[in-house]
């Protein structure tokens, strides 16, 4: 019998290894798997490569992971924010490597990995410094840049509901990177607000079919990252 639900969040992330490439869903705080990230922080894996849209705010979520020295390299589109204190500091002293990728190229590279497309051409970034060193080719008289699929060992994703087959629905704009990261990682680990019975999710409204999901874990009341940041909370490894 298929049952992807894991009893505890600690068990869900227990086997993530040092040196792993880990995708984190979320755009800003919406859809950011803060609870899974904190579990990974406690689990202790080091030398991680993180793929995420942002580099975190305050001292929680991915910022806490960076602050604990666990992240060697980050691939993202917009690391900077008014509260990205940790990333800014690590970056300034060369303690973290950054691969800056336009947001749409990031999304398409992730989707490509999930879809078995090793590389594709995009007009985005042609003629800009972000295309430096990349293959450029004209299609329809316009330059396009060759971009490669971006895969991961693990994706940590936040969704709304799951059934035991791993079918997922999301909530509003928190959907963002979740569906494509589930496709692009060898193992996707998904925190959901609730599990429902098999057949309780209308087959027409499944956003991520279970085939893309490795593990699910219930986090009924996910951390409110914005509130934590506003309160000045610093998440340290336990």
């Amino acid at each position: 019998m298929i049952d992807k639900q894991i009893a505890t969040i600690e068990a869900a992330v227990a086997d993530i290894r040092d040196g792993a490439t880990v995708m984190l869903s979320g755009f800003g705080e919406a859809g950011h798997p803060t609870d899974l990230i904190h579990a990974l922080l406690d689990q202790g894996a080091r030398e991680l490569t993180i793929i995420a849209n942002n580099a975190g705010n305050g001292y929680v979520g991915v910022a806490a992971l960076i602050n604990a020295g666990r992240v060697r390299r980050i691939v993202c589109s917009f690391p900077k924010s008014s509260q990205s204190v940790v990333f800014n500091e690590f970056y300034a002293r060369g303690a973290i490597e950054l691969e800056l990728v336009p947001q749409g190229t990031l999304a398409e590279r992730i989707r490509a990995a999930g879809a078995g497309v090793p590389a594709f051409y995009t007009p985005t970034s042609a003629g800009t410094p972000l295309a430096d060193g990349k293959e450029v080719r004209d299609f329809g008289g316009r330059p396009h840049v060759l971009e490669h699929a971006l895969r991961a060992d693990v994706a940590l994703v936040k969704a709304e509901t799951a059934d035991r087959w791993g079918n997922l629905t999301y909530r509003k704009a928190a959907r963002n990177f979740g569906p494509i990261m589930c496709m692009a990682a060898d193992l996707s680990i998904v925190q959901v607000r609730r599990h429902v019975g098999l057949g309780d999710i209308d087959p027409e409204i499944v956003v991520t079919p279970g085939i893309f999901v490795g593990r699910t874990v219930t986090v009924a009341e996910p951390a409110d990252e914005q509130a934590l940041i506003a309160s000045g909370y610093r998440r340290e490894p336990t």
């Binding site: 298929i2 078995g116 087959w165 079918n167 499944v206 893309f212």
Partner: protein
């Protein structure tokens, strides 16, 4: 069905398509995502042990389809890749064609069982065209499945109706994909594709290795 498999006086038990399908089903673990090719491979679904939950994928955009419905329940919007009516199990889902082939090409389908005209000892598969130029060609999802699924099992007769071997040293039919077949299930034997040829897993009762080799156009290694 008992048959004279060799045509040379030896009595061996040739497997029926349902028996081949049942044999394949034994090798499918609980929890696998499986695509069954159109035709004979579809029979595999009927033989999956009831204690195993196997999720069937259909490339037209279904995960988790179930058996043929009763006539009264046929829904023309709920068909499989063979365009036959199916049902949907609890936990099933619908998605569009690009997403469906992302599952295939992206390596998310654990196993695909396909029919074949020929399988070569290097794992090359021919199952989409006989190469006759006057035929109307058609490829469908065969090349995507062959190139994309994590494992390709082939289900076929060991020889053509005319007795020509379908396991060959080199394809003579146009390729569907190169080096992709992992295991072949025929009416006479089960063989793995290994470096340097086919490796015999099992032959049907009463069939000697010599007889099998006589009906095979490629090297057969034994364990």
């Amino acid at each position: 069905m008992t048959d004279n498999a060799t045509g040379q006086g030896h009595n061996s038990v040739r497997r029926t398509p349902d028996e081949i399908a049942a044999r394949i089903a034994q090798d499918i673990p609980d929890g696998f995502y499986v695509n069954l090719g159109i035709g004979q491979p579809e029979k595999v679904a009927n033989h999956v042990p009831s204690e195993r939950e196997v999720v069937l994928h259909s490339e037209n955009g279904i995960l988790g389809f179930g058996p043929t419905p009763a006539d009264a329940d046929i829904d023309h919007d709920l068909i499989n890749a063979g365009k036959k009516p199916v049902t949907l199990k609890d936990g099933g889902s619908f998605f569009h064609h690009a997403d469906s082939f992302a599952m295939i090409r992206g390596g998310h389908i654990d196993l695909c069982v396909l029919g074949a005209y020929q399988v070569a000892e290097n794992g090359d598969l021919a199952n989409w065209s006989t190469g006759k130029t006057d035929d109307v060609p058609g490829v469908g999802g065969a090349m995507d499945l062959a190139a994309g699924a994590k494992r390709i099992f082939v289900m076929m007769t060991h020889t053509t109706k005319d007795g020509a071997p379908k396991l060959v040293d080199r394809l003579t039919y146009p390729a569907t994909a190169r080096g992709v077949v992992k295991r072949v299930y025929t009416d006479l034997a089960v063989l793995d594709v290994v470096d340097g040829g086919f490796q015999l897993v099992e032959a049907v009762e009463g069939l000697s290795l010599e007889d099998l080799r006589a009906r095979t156009g490629a090297t057969i290694h034994t364990p």
